[in-house]
C-alpha cells in the first residue's frame, strides 16, 4: 500500500495553475469534432423554426396575413404573439421586450412571427410569404436626433458627482467644450445564435442554447411558458464566440423553440441566418459624448462635466448597467477632483443594444481619453505628458467619481516600463521629423493606458457555484456555472481543481454547463468567469479535501499536519498513496466525494441612487503604444507597430491570457477602425453580414505586434491564485490606435488642432478630417 516518501517522485502535476496549457477543446477544434449546437444529433422528428421580421422602423401593424405562410410546403405551425403564454423576456424586468411583437413594431427587423416547419429551409422560405400591412409612425434612429425629439430614456440615468464642478470650471485657467461620437459594434461571433428545445414530461423542457447565461435562459423560458424554473433545464457546452452578444440575446430563440416544442411535443431548433442574427439582435451601444473640461496651464484637470448619451434601441435590456459602466470608466487612470458625469440611456427605433466586451466601459474610457487629447492639443503637448500628470496618485488624489478609493494603482509602473521598452519617446520624435518631409504619407504614435474595474456593478451577480465529483477511480468531474465561449474558462477552472487535488489536469473531466447541476448562476460576463467560478470550484475541492483529510487522520491515525496532497498522491505520515488508491479507500469508508462549491465576492457594495460605494473588488491595468501610417490623399491607413504591457495579476494560464490580450486588442481595433454600423433612411441596418460589416483580418494585424504580460504583477486582493480578470480590459488598449490615427491626421495642421476623429475612424473619416484640418 503506497510508496514511502523517499520513493516519491518530485515531479509536479501537469497543467497546474500558472502554467500555459492548451485550451481543453483545442484538439476537438482543429479536427472539427468540437460539438456546437447545430452539430448535435437531433431527436427524431425535430422541427425547425425561423423568424419573420418587421420591415418598418416604427409602425402600427394593421394586419398580418399569414395564410400563405401556413400553406407553404413543410410548414407545421406559425406562432404569433397570441401563442406566447407570457409574452415578455425583458432582462431588465421592465416588461418592455416581447418574445413576438403584438400589433406594432419598434425597429426594422423586430420578430413578428415564427414559422415552424419540417426543415429549416421550408421555414425560412415560408417567412417570405407573409403579407404585413403597416401604418408608419415617426421614428428616430440616431441618438442625437432622439434627444432632440425628446425621446424617453429606456431606464433611469445615472449621475456620478464629486467636488464642485460648476465652481471649478468657472475658476479654471483653461476650458474646452467639445463632443464626440463613438460608434457601436456587432459582436460577429462566428457561431450565430441558436437554440434547440426538447420537450419532456409534464411541463418540462430541456434547452440547448448558445448562451453566456444559462440561468437567464432558464428563467426567461419558464417565464414565457408560465412554468416554474424547475421545469426548465438549460445546457451549454460551448459557444462559437459570445463577447456579450449571448448574455441576453439568446433568450428569444430559446423561448420560441420551447413554446413550439411544447405545442407540438417535438424537438424544435432555431438558427437565424447571419443577416437576421445581425439585424434582430443587439450590439454595442453607440454613444454621443459632450463635455466641458477645466484645466491648468500644465494640463492638470480641475473639473470635468460630461454627458454620455447612448443609442439603447427600443428597450432597456442591459442599457442601464452599460451606460453606468461608461460613467465608471470615464476617469480611466485620471484623477478628476471635481466631476459630474451623467448618462442618458436613450430610446431609439433600433434593435435593443446589449452587452459587448467592456460593457460601456470602452465608450466611457474613449470619451475620457478624448478629454486628455483635447487638452494636449490645446497646450501643444504630447498627450502622454497630460496623461501622466493626471494619473491617480497612490496615496492621495486617488478617489474616483464614484467615491471608491483606488488602492491597487500600478499604472505608473506599467506605463513607465512600456514607454521604455517601446522606445516611445525616440519614435515619437522621429515620426514628427518624418512628417515634416512627407507630403502624402503621415505617421502617428500614441500611448494610452487602461484601468478597468472588476466586478458586476449589480452586486448580487457576484456569486458563483460549482459541482465537483470525485469518482471511485480517482477521476474527477467538474461542473461550474460559467460558460465556455472560447476564453478558456473551463481550462483555467480545471487547472484550479488539478492544483487543489494535486492531480494531473487530464484527471479532470470538464462538463457542459447545466442549470440542473449548478443553479442560480450569473452570466459569464464582466470578465468575471475565472474569478468567480475558479473560487467556487476551489471551494468545492476544499470541502472534499477537508473530508479526505479527516478520513486520513482517522484511518491512519495521524494528525492533520501529516496529511498532504502532493503530485498525484496523498501523503499520509511517511506513506505516499497514489491518488486513485486513496480515493478508493475513502469511498470504502463511506466518505462523501462530491461537493457543491460557492463563492461571493467580498468587500463590494454600491448605492446607485447616491452614486457612491465600492462597486469594484479591484482594477486591472494595461497600456499600449500604437504606431500608424495614413495616406492623406485617400484616408487609408495601416497599423505599423503595437507594443502592449498588460496586467493579469498572477496569471492562471499565461498562454490563454496572452491570447485574450491579443484577441481583445484586435477586436478593439476593429471597433475603432473598420467596423461601421450603417442604417439607411428607412431605419434599416445595411451592414448586416461580413460582406458589408468589416471585422479585422489577419492582414490588418499590426505589422509588428509585441504583447507582454506584466509578470511581476499580483492581485492585491485575494482572488483565485492572485490572478486578475482578462476578458475585457485589454479591449481598450486599442484606444491607442484611434489616437495614433488622430496624431497622423493632426500633422497636416502642424498638431495645432485636435482632429476630433469620431469612431470608427474609417478611411473616409480620416480623409474628411484631413480636409477639415487643411482648411484650418
Amino acid at each position: 500500500m503506497g510508496q514511502t516518501v523517499s520513493a516519491r517522485s518530485s515531479k509536479a502535476i501537469s497543467g497546474g495553475v500558472h502554467t500555459s496549457r492548451q485550451h481543453d477543446s483545442a484538439h476537438k477544434h482543429v479536427t472539427g469534432a468540437a460539438e456546437y449546437i447545430d452539430d448535435m444529433m437531433v431527436p427524431a422528428g425535430t422541427l425547425h423554426g425561423y423568424l419573420g421580421l418587421s420591415e418598418r422602423a416604427h409602425a402600427t401593424i394593421k394586419s398580418m396575413d399569414l395564410e400563405a405562410v401556413r400553406a407553404a410546403p413543410g410548414v407545421v405551425d406559425v406562432l404569433t404573439a397570441a401563442d406566447v403564454p407570457h409574452n415578455d423576456i425583458s432582462p431588465s424586468h421592465l416588461d418592455d421586450e416581447p418574445v413576438l411583437t403584438d400589433g406594432y413594431c419598434d425597429f426594422y427587423g423586430q420578430p413578428l412571427f415564427a414559422v415552424i416547419a419540417e426543415t429549416r429551409e421550408a421555414a425560412r422560405n415560408a417567412t417570405q410569404l407573409a403579407k404585413i400591412d403597416y401604418e408608419d409612425r415617426e421614428y428616430k434612429i440616431d441618438v442625437v436626433e432622439a434627444m432632440e425629439a425628446d425621446y424617453p430614456h429606456v431606464t433611469k440615468p445615472l449621475k456620478l458627482e464629486n467636488g464642485d464642478v460648476g465652481a471649478a470650471l468657472e475658476t479654471a485657467a483653461n476650458r474646452i467644450s467639445s463632443e464626440m461620437r463613438i460608434g457601436g459594434q456587432d459582436h460577429f461571433y462566428l457561431e450565430g445564435h441558436i437554440a434547440m428545445a426538447v420537450p419532456g414530461e409534464d411541463d418540462e423542457v430541456t434547452i440547448y442554447s448558445s448562451t453566456q447565461h444559462p440561468s437567464e435562459v432558464q428563467h426567461m423560458v419558464s417565464h414565457a411558458l408560465n412554468a416554474p424554473s424547475n421545469a426548465v433545464t438549460v445546457n451549454a457546452r460551448r459557444m462559437g464566440g459570445g463577447f456579450g452578444g449571448k448574455e441576453t440575446q439568446g433568450n428569444q430563440f430559446a423561448a420560441i423553440a420551447a413554446i413550439a416544442a411544447k405545442r407540438h411535443n417535438r424537438a424544435v431548433k432555431i438558427r437565424p441566418d447571419r443577416d437576421d442574427d445581425m439585424i434582430a439582435t443587439g450590439k454595442r451601444h453607440d454613444f454621443h459624448m459632450s463635455f466641458d473640461v477645466g484645466f491648468d496651464n500644465e494640463g492638470r484637470i480641475e473639473a470635468l462635466e460630461a454627458v454620455f448619451a447612448a443609442r439603447c434601441g427600443f428597450s432597456a435590456d442591459l442599457s442601464g448597467p452599460v451606460t453606468d459602466r461608461a460613467l465608471f470608466h470615464t476617469d480611466n487612470c485620471y484623477y478628476l477632483p471635481n466631476v459630474l458625469l451623467t448618462s442618458r440611456p436613450m430610446k431609439t427605433n433600433t434593435v435593443s443594444n446589449t452587452a459587448f466586451r467592456g460593457f460601456g466601459g470602452p465608450q466611457g474610457m474613449l470619451g475620457g481619453e478624448r478629454v486628455i487629447e483635447e487638452i494636449a492639443y490645446a497646450l501643444g503637448k504630447d498627450p502622454l505628458e497630460i496623461r501622466k500628470i493626471n494619473f491617480y496618485g497612490e496615496n492621495d488624489r486617488n478617489v474616483t467619481p464614484y467615491h471608491q478609493t483606488v488602492e491597487d494603482n500600478i499604472i505608473e509602473r506599467i506605463v513607465g516600463e512600456l514607454e521604455g521598452s517601446s522606445d516611445y519617446q525616440a519614435r515619437r520624435k522621429s515620426i514628427i521629423e518624418f512628417n515634416k518631409t512627407s507630403p502624402v504619407i503621415r505617421r502617428g504614435i500614441s500611448l494610452t493606458p487602461v484601468k478597468f474595474g472588476i466586478s458586476f456593478t449589480a452586486t448580487w451577480y457576484n456569486q458563483a457555484g460549482s459541482l465537483v465529483h470525485v469518482y471511485q477511480d480517482g477521476s474527477i468531474h467538474l461542473n461550474h456555472g460559467g460558460t465556455e465561449m472560447g476564453q478558456g474558462l473551463n481550462t483555467k477552472v480545471a487547472q484550479v481543481v488539478a492544483d487543489e487535488f494535486q492531480v494531473d489536469l487530464e484527471t479532470i473531466r470538464i462538463t457542459a454547463t447545466s442549470t440542473g447541476k449548478v443553479p442560480n448562476t450569473s452570466a459569464t460576463a464582466a470578465s468575471s468567469g475565472s474569478d468567480l467560478n475558479g473560487m467556487a470550484a476551489a471551494n468545492a475541492c476544499e470541502q472534499i479535501k477537508t473530508r479526505l483529510v479527516a478520513f486520513a487522520c482517522e484511518h491512519y491515525g495521524v494528525p492533520e499536519d501529516q496529511v498532504a496532497f502532493v503530485p498525484n498522491h496523498v501523503q499520509v505520515g511517511n506513506q505516499l498513496i497514489p491518488f486513485p488508491d486513496f480515493i478508493k479507500q475513502a469511498y470504502m469508508a463511506r466518505i462523501q466525494l462530491s461537493a457543491a462549491g460557492f463563492y461571493k465576492t467580498p468587500k463590494i457594495h454600491w448605492d446607485r441612487d447616491k452614486g457612491q460605494g465600492r462597486p469594484f473588488f479591484y482594477f486591472a491595468y494595461g497600456a499600449a503604444v500604437s504606431e500608424v501610417s495614413i495616406d492623406t490623399l485617400t484616408g487609408e491607413y495601416h497599423v505599423d507597430r503595437v507594443d502592449i504591457l498588460h496586467d493579469v495579476g498572477k496569471s492562471l494560464n499565461p498562454a490563454i491570457d496572452l491570447g485574450q490580450v491579443q484577441g481583445a486588442f484586435i477586436q478593439g481595433m476593429g471597433w475603432l477602425t473598420t467596423e461601421e454600423l450603417w442604417w439607411d433612411d428607412n431605419g434599416r441596418l445595411r451592414t448586416h453580414a461580413p460582406s458589408t460589416y468589416k471585422i479585422p483580418l489577419a492582414s490588418d494585424r499590426p505589422k509588428e505586434f509585441n504583447v507582454q504580460l506584466a509578470t511581476w504583477s499580483t492581485n492585491k486582493e485575494r482572488t483565485i491564485r492572485r490572478s486578475k480578470a482578462v476578458g475585457e480590459p485589454p479591449f481598450m488598449l486599442a484606444n491607442s490606435v484611434l489616437e495614433a490615427l488622430s496624431m497622423a491626421t493632426a500633422s497636416v495642421a502642424d498638431y495645432r488642432i485636435c482632429p476630433r476623429l469620431d469612431a470608427p475612424a474609417t478611411p473616409e473619416r480620416i480623409l474628411l478630417a484631413v480636409e477639415r484640418l487643411k482648411k484650418g
Binding site: H23, S25, A26, H27, K28, H29, V30, T31, G32, A34, Y36, D38, N125, Q128, F188, L190, E191, G240, G241, F243, R274, D275, P439, V440, I441, M485, G486, Q487, S629, I630, D631, L633, T634, G635, H638, I656, G659, Q662, G663, I666, Q667, T674, E676, R686, T687, A689, P690, S691, T692, K694, P696, L697, A698, S699, D700, V707, P763, E764, L767, L768
Partner: protein, 493 residues
C-alpha cells in the same frame, strides 16, 4: 455527334466515390455535408462566402492537372462538383486520431479559442501548405483573407502557419494519392453532359463550351453559374430559384489563357487564381488589385468572365480592363461577336447580352510601351472588401511631355463601370504637370454623381476619386505615396 447524357453527379468525398442523383440545383456543398452526410466539422458562419468557416478543399483537373484549392462550401453548388475531389476537415487526422501537422501546429500555438472558425482555418492553411509548404507571412495573410477569426487576433494562427512550414508535405495523404485520384477523376469525367431533374428544379453541366452553346440555345433563360460567388448568394441570401441552372465551372475549354503580341485572351471560365500569374506579370499594379478581390476561396472559385457578365457597377475588373481598352467576346449558338467592354455595360443591371448569349472570352490588349497605367482600390477594409471606388488610369505622353491619350475608368462612381470623359478630355493635349492635374480634378464633378451608401458617402467617393488622379500623377513622378503593408516593387508608372 450528340453529346452523351448522364443523370447523376459523380465525385469523390474524402475517400469515397459518390454517385448522386436527384440533386436540387440549389443544394450547396455545405448543406450536403452537414445535413445529408452529417459531416459537421465544416461550419456555416455567414452563408455568403465571406467568413471562411465552411472552407473545404476541392480537387479538380484544371489546366495544370489535379489541383486542390480552398473554396467556400456555403456558396458552392453540388452540381458544380462533378468529377471533383471534395476534402473536408474530417479527412485530415489519420485513422488513429493522429493530428495532421497543420492541426498539430494550431494546437501547439494556441491557434483556436472558440473553435468555430478553426476547421475552416485549418483547411485554408492545409491548402496553402500543399501548395507552398514554407510560406512567408505575406502569403499566409493572403491565404487567410477569406477566414475571419473573432477571438485570437490571428497572431497565434500566423505562428502556427509559420511553424508548420518546418514540415514537408511529401508524406501527406493528398500528395501520396495524387496520381490515383487524378486517374479516378479522369475516369469520372467521362465526357458526358450531366442533366439532373429534381423536384426543386433542373441542373445541367455541359460537356464542352460548344455543348454549353447548345444548352443555352435550348434554355435561353437558364441561369449560368460559373464560380457561384455571386449566384450563390442569390440562393443563400435571397432564396431565389435559379432553375434551370447551367454549371460551367468545369469547362476546361473556357479556361484557356492565350498571350501573344497583341495581348492576353482570357477564357470566361478562368478563375481569378488561375489568371493571376498572367495578369500580374503583364499589367502593372494589377497583381495588387487581384490580391484584394474577395478572399482566396472566392478567387479560387470566381471567374473573370463572371465578374464581367454580372454587370455589377462595383466589380473590380471592369475599370482596369476598360482603361486598357479590353473587348469581350459573346457567343450564341455557334455565332460569336466581339464588342468593346466599355459598351457591354449599358445601364444598372443591363448589359449588351441577349438570351442565349454567354461570355466566351475577354481580350486585354497589351499596354503599349511608354503608356503609364495604374489601378487603385479604395475600401473600408483593405482586403476582402468591396470597393467604395475602383479607379484605373492610363495615360500616354508625347515626346514633349503632353498628354496624348488618357483613359480613366471607375467603379463605384456610377450605375455602371464608367470613364471620366470630361477629365480625360481636359487633360489631352495638356502638359502632364501638377497644375493641370489640379485643374482636371475638379472636372470629376461633371463626370460623376456618386451615391451615398454603407461603403462610402458621395462626398468621400468624389474626393477620393479626385485624389487618386493626384496619386497616379505623383507615382508617375516616382513618388512613393501609398501605405504599404509588405514592401514590394510597386510596378507601374
Amino acid at each position: 455527334m450528340p453529346t452523351a447524357v448522364r443523370n447523376e453527379l459523380r465525385f469523390i468525398l474524402n475517400s469515397e466515390v459518390v454517385h448522386l442523383q436527384n440533386v436540387s440545383p440549389t443544394l450547396t456543398l455545405l448543406d450536403y455535408l452537414r445535413l445529408q452526410r452529417l459531416l459537421t466539422g465544416t461550419k456555416e458562419g455567414c452563408a455568403e462566402g465571406d467568413c471562411g468557416a465552411c472552407t473545404v478543399l476541392v480537387g479538380r483537373i484544371g489546366p495544370k492537372g489535379l489541383v486542390y484549392e480552398s473554396v467556400n462550401a456555403c456558396i458552392r453548388f453540388m452540381a458544380s462538383l462533378d468529377a471533383c475531389h471534395i476534402v473536408t476537415v474530417e479527412h485530415l487526422a489519420d485513422v488513429n486520431g493522429q493530428l495532421h501537422p497543420v492541426q498539430q501546429a494550431m494546437v501547439d500555438f494556441h491557434g483556436s479559442q472558440c473553435g468555430f472558425c478553426t476547421p475552416g482555418i485549418v483547411m485554408s492553411l492545409y491548402g496553402l501548405w500543399l501548395e507552398t509548404p514554407k510560406a512567408d507571412a505575406e502569403r499566409i495573410e493572403k491565404t487567410l483573407q477569406g477566414n475571419l477569426c473573432r477571438c485570437t487576433g490571428y497572431e497565434a494562427i500566423l505562428n502556427a502557419a509559420e511553424a508548420v512550414g518546418q514540415t514537408g508535405n511529401g508524406k501527406d495523404k493528398l500528395v501520396v494519392t495524387h496520381e490515383e485520384i487524378s486517374a479516378k477523376l479522369a475516369e469520372l469525367k467521362d465526357g458526358s453532359r450531366v442533366e439532373i431533374n429534381s423536384p426543386e428544379g433542373s441542373s445541367i453541366v455541359p460537356a464542352t463550351a460548344n455543348d454549353l452553346a447548345d444548352v443555352l440555345e435550348n434554355n435561353p433563360d437558364a441561369t449560368v453559374v460559373a464560380g457561384s460567388t455571386d449566384v450563390g448568394l442569390w440562393v443563400t441570401k435571397h432564396m431565389r430559384d435559379i432553375s434551370p441552372a447551367v454549371f460551367i465551372g468545369n469547362l476546361v475549354d473556357l479556361q484557356t489563357i492565350e498571350e501573344d503580341d497583341a495581348g492576353i485572351t482570357i477564357g470566361a471560365g478562368v478563375t481569378f487564381t488561375d489568371a493571376f500569374e498572367a495578369i500580374s506579370r503583364s499589367i502593372p499594379t494589377m497583381g495588387d488589385l487581384w490580391d484584394r478581390i474577395g478572399g482566396e476561396q472566392v478567387r479560387n472559385m470566381g471567374t473573370v468572365g463572371g465578374n464581367i457578365a454580372n454587370g455589377s457597377p462595383i466589380g473590380d475588373t471592369p475599370p482596369p480592363f476598360i482603361a486598357l481598352g479590353a473587348s469581350v467576346t459573346l457567343q450564341k449558338g455557334s455565332a460569336t461577336r466581339t464588342i468593346d467592354l466599355e459598351d457591354f455595360f449599358i445601364d444598372y443591371g443591363k448589359q449588351d447580352r441577349e438570351p442565349g448569349d454567354f461570355v466566351r472570352a475577354l481580350h486585354i490588349p497589351k499596354l503599349p510601351d511608354g503608356d503609364k497605367f495604374a489601378v487603385y482600390k479604395i475600401s473600408k477594409r483593405r482586403d476582402e472588401d468591396i470597393s467604395a471606388v475602383c479607379a484605373a488610369f492610363r495615360v500616354r505622353l508625347d515626346g514633349a511631355g503632353n498628354v496624348e491619350n488618357a483613359r480613366f475608368a471607375f467603379g463605384g462612381m456610377a450605375a455602371t463601370p464608367k470613364r471620366a470623359s470630361a477629365v480625360e478630355k481636359a487633360l489631352i493635349g495638356k502638359p502632364w504637370a501638377e497644375a493641370e492635374i489640379d485643374r482636371a480634378m475638379a472636372l470629376f464633378d461633371q463626370d460623376f454623381t456618386p451615391l451615398t451608401d454603407w461603403r462610402a458617402s458621395a462626398e468621400y467617393r468624389m474626393l477620393a476619386t479626385k485624389n487618386l488622379l493626384k496619386r497616379f500623377f505623383l507615382e508617375t513622378q516616382g513618388d512613393s505615396v501609398q501605405v504599404v503593408r509588405h514592401t514590394k516593387t510597386l510596378a507601374g508608372a
